[in-house]
């Protein structure tokens, strides 16, 4: 059984048909990249996996999305339970206006963990996992806003990982970062794939080719092509994909 499975997903915002009949399977502990021009629906699709689009008024979903074989849109599924399993990192670093420690501990606390020793231990692990520990271990109680943009984004990754999700969604996680920070985040993605299945939306095709095992190309709400990254970038079957990755539009 694959980690994530989408079956004939259609998504509407009001009268706008944002996603058109998408079906795909995402294998366990792989990195899958979604590429495509802006407005193609790749972020919308990503945000279906942790039901972040539930917040949008007037949105409607048809079809099924299964994680570990269970439909996450079935009645009785609790979104907070789902989101413990499916973490998310956003386009811009969005730390809470709290201390570094409290940022990472947040997900544990809101899910009912009170054991201080465990939280301390877990925060350290998550920061180490995000390659941030050495930079912040002496200032855990400082405001997270005091960190640089790249550090903030890695903090957000640590924050998501502390909850111990099995899927990590990344919505253009490096688009607001400088090249050095971007490289660090990419390195991190390669490390994290050992623990989680990663779905990453990106604008940057080099990034997709560097970090992902499989790549899906989206265009105008449709998934045009989905294959191993190597195939997509060297020998795509569809002309639209070819045009996009060679930079002829987008």
């Amino acid at each position: 059984m694959e980690k994530i499975e989408a079956r004939d997903v259609n998504f509407h915002y009001g009268s706008f048909h944002a996603l058109k009949g998408i079906s795909m399977e995402i294998p366990r502990n792989k990195v899958v990249a979604f590429i495509g021009p802006s407005g193609c629906g790749k972020s919308t699709f990503l945000r279906l996996f942790n039901r972040m689009n539930d917040l949008i008024p007037g949105a409607r979903l048809d079809g099924e999305i299964l994680i570990d074989g269970k439909n996450i849109y079935a009645p009785g599924v609790q979104v907070d339970e789902l989101r413990k399993e499916v973490g998310m990192v956003f386009q811009r670093p969005n730390p809470f206006p709290k201390s570094i420690f409290d940022n990472v501990a947040y997900g544990l606390r809101v899910n009912g963990i009170r054991d201080k020793a465990f939280i301390t231990h877990r925060v350290e692990e998550a920061l180490k996992g995000a390659a941030l520990w050495n930079e912040v271990k002496d200032k855990l109680n400082d405001s997270a806003f005091a960190l640089s943009g790249g550090q903030q984004q890695r903090l957000c990754i640590a924050r998501a990982m502390a909850v111990s999700p099995s899927v990590l969604l990344m919505d253009e996680p490096a688009s607001a970062l400088d090249p050095i920070s971007t490289a660090k985040v990419e390195e991190l993605i390669c490390e994290l794939r050992k623990e989680v299945t990663i779905v990453i939306v990106t604008h940057n095709m080099q990034q997709a080719s560097r970090v992902s095992d499989k790549t899906a190309f989206f265009y105008m709400g449709e998934m045009v092509e989905y294959d191993d990254t190597k195939v997509i970038f060297t020998n795509p079957r569809k002309e639209a994909t070819q045009n996009y990755i060679t930079g002829r539009f987008g």
């Binding site: 907070d80 973490g87 206006p97 997900g107 809101v110 957000c156």
Partner: protein, 398 residues
């Protein structure tokens, strides 16, 4: 011609730009000049003296002591640092108890000499008489007249501006009354204000929000006399019944009315602050498995704290300065407040109630302006607080 017009308009607009600053300066100027005049006023009513027997060693009395003497609360000179002898008081109105009309003369032309004689004959007597009446050679002593001191005014606990011979301008009861009423008002308004703000900004559907918004605006628009009238007709009798009070007009009635009046300010400012909390922060919290409510109290409220604080402080400002509603329902007893269930009196209510009767330029009139100065500075400080909070907040997010 066109250039000239541009310049003239520019000049005119610049001048208008500074109008509010000029008004503030004028307010400070006028209120201060009148208010500060109080400290140049004599303790004893102008043109009058307190005459003593020449054997009496007491030379100085402050306003509170003078009032105690003439109210017969103090009956022996030794309590005032003098010799051990009983005090007897004499006012001009008492003249006919001591002398017949013929003795005094039709125009009171003999009164001065007679009163001087009376005081000279009674070692414990103090007489409150017009200065012009006492003959030069009476041989009497007079209480040294000093100006009203700031200590008596700001530290005094008795507000008795119409007392004779020496009015009392202790502003403490009014200050405390104002603070009590405002404090309780905010205590009532706070839970409601924050809840409604959270509800409107985070929970309610757009339809409900579009219904609540004008409700809050209307609450803000109702004139304060109407609130006062409603309080007088509905809240005051209700409190009287519920708490079994002798009078329903009380600090609590004022607080309740003020709470309703301060609410719109708190709600509007706090709601605004919460709506300004970035969406990405909410999403980050929800994506970690937090519920909406956890997100609200762990992220949204802390990060909009300064806005909420501004709303509360502005609400306090509104409560402190509110006049008519408070005047109508608090009972206006100028005493040190002991309980919120008793009548008390605030600074604005005092000004509104007494200015009409205070003779222009007199000590009473000036004391009311001084109250105005105090009120102005309280609200000025409150506004500076709000500015400071929001400036710091802007710095944080940029």
């Amino acid at each position: 011609m066109k250039r000239f017009l541009e310049k003239a308009v520019r000049w005119l607009l610049t001048a208008s730009g500074f109008v509010t600053s000029i008004v503030i300066l004028l307010i400070i100027g006028f209120l201060f000049t009148e208010g500060a005049g109080l400290f140049r006023e004599p303790v004893i009513e102008e043109g009058y003296v307190l005459a003593l027997n020449s054997e009496n060693p007491v030379r100085e009395l402050n306003a509170a002591e003078i009032k105690a003497v003439f109210d017969e609360d103090v009956t022996n000179w030794k309590e005032l640092g003098g010799a051990d002898m009983p005090i007897s008081t004499f006012r001009l109105e008492d003249a006919d108890e001591h002398f017949s009309e013929e003795q005094l003369g039709a125009q009171y032309e003999n009164a001065g000499a007679l009163i001087s004689g009376l005081v000279a004959a009674n070692p414990g007597m103090v007489a409150f008489v017009p200065e012009s009446m006492i003959p030069e050679d009476s041989g009497l002593n007079f209480i040294k007249d000093s100006s009203i001191s700031p200590g008596e005014v700001f530290g005094g606990s008795e507000w008795f501006p119409t007392a004779t011979p020496a009015p009392l301008f202790g502003m403490l009861p009014l200050l405390l009354g104002t603070l009590w009423v405002s404090l309780f008002a905010i205590l009532f308004a706070l839970p409601f204000g924050i809840s409604i703000a959270v509800y409107m900004s985070e929970v309610a559907s757009p339809r409900i929000r579009n219904f609540l918004k004008p409700v809050i605006e209307l609450l803000n628009g109702i004139p304060s006399v109407v609130y006062g009238f409603f309080g007088l007709i509905v809240i005051v009798p209700m409190l009287q019944r519920v708490f079994g009070l002798p009078v329903g007009e009380s600090g609590l009635a004022g607080s309740l009315v003020l709470a309703i009046m301060a609410l719109p300010t708190i709600v509007t400012v706090a709601e605004d602050a919460m709506r300004n909390c970035p969406r990405t922060l909410r999403e980050a919290s929800l994506a970690l498995g937090a519920t909406k409510w956890q997100t609200i109290y762990k992220v949204v409220i802390p990060s909009s704290m300064s806005g909420i604080a501004s709303g509360v402080v502005l609400g306090i400002g509104r409560a402190v300065g509110e006049t008519m509603a408070v005047l109508m329902v608090t009972g206006n007893a100028a005493v040190m407040p002991h309980s919120i269930l008793e009548p008390l009196r605030t600074i604005p209510a005092t000004i509104a109630a007494e200015l009409g009767e205070a003779p222009a330029g007199g000590a009473h009139y000036q004391s009311l302006f001084l109250l105005g100065v105090i009120l102005f500075f309280i609200t000025f400080l409150i506004n500076l607080c709000v500015e400071f909070i929001s400036a710091r907040n802007k710095a944080k997010y940029n």
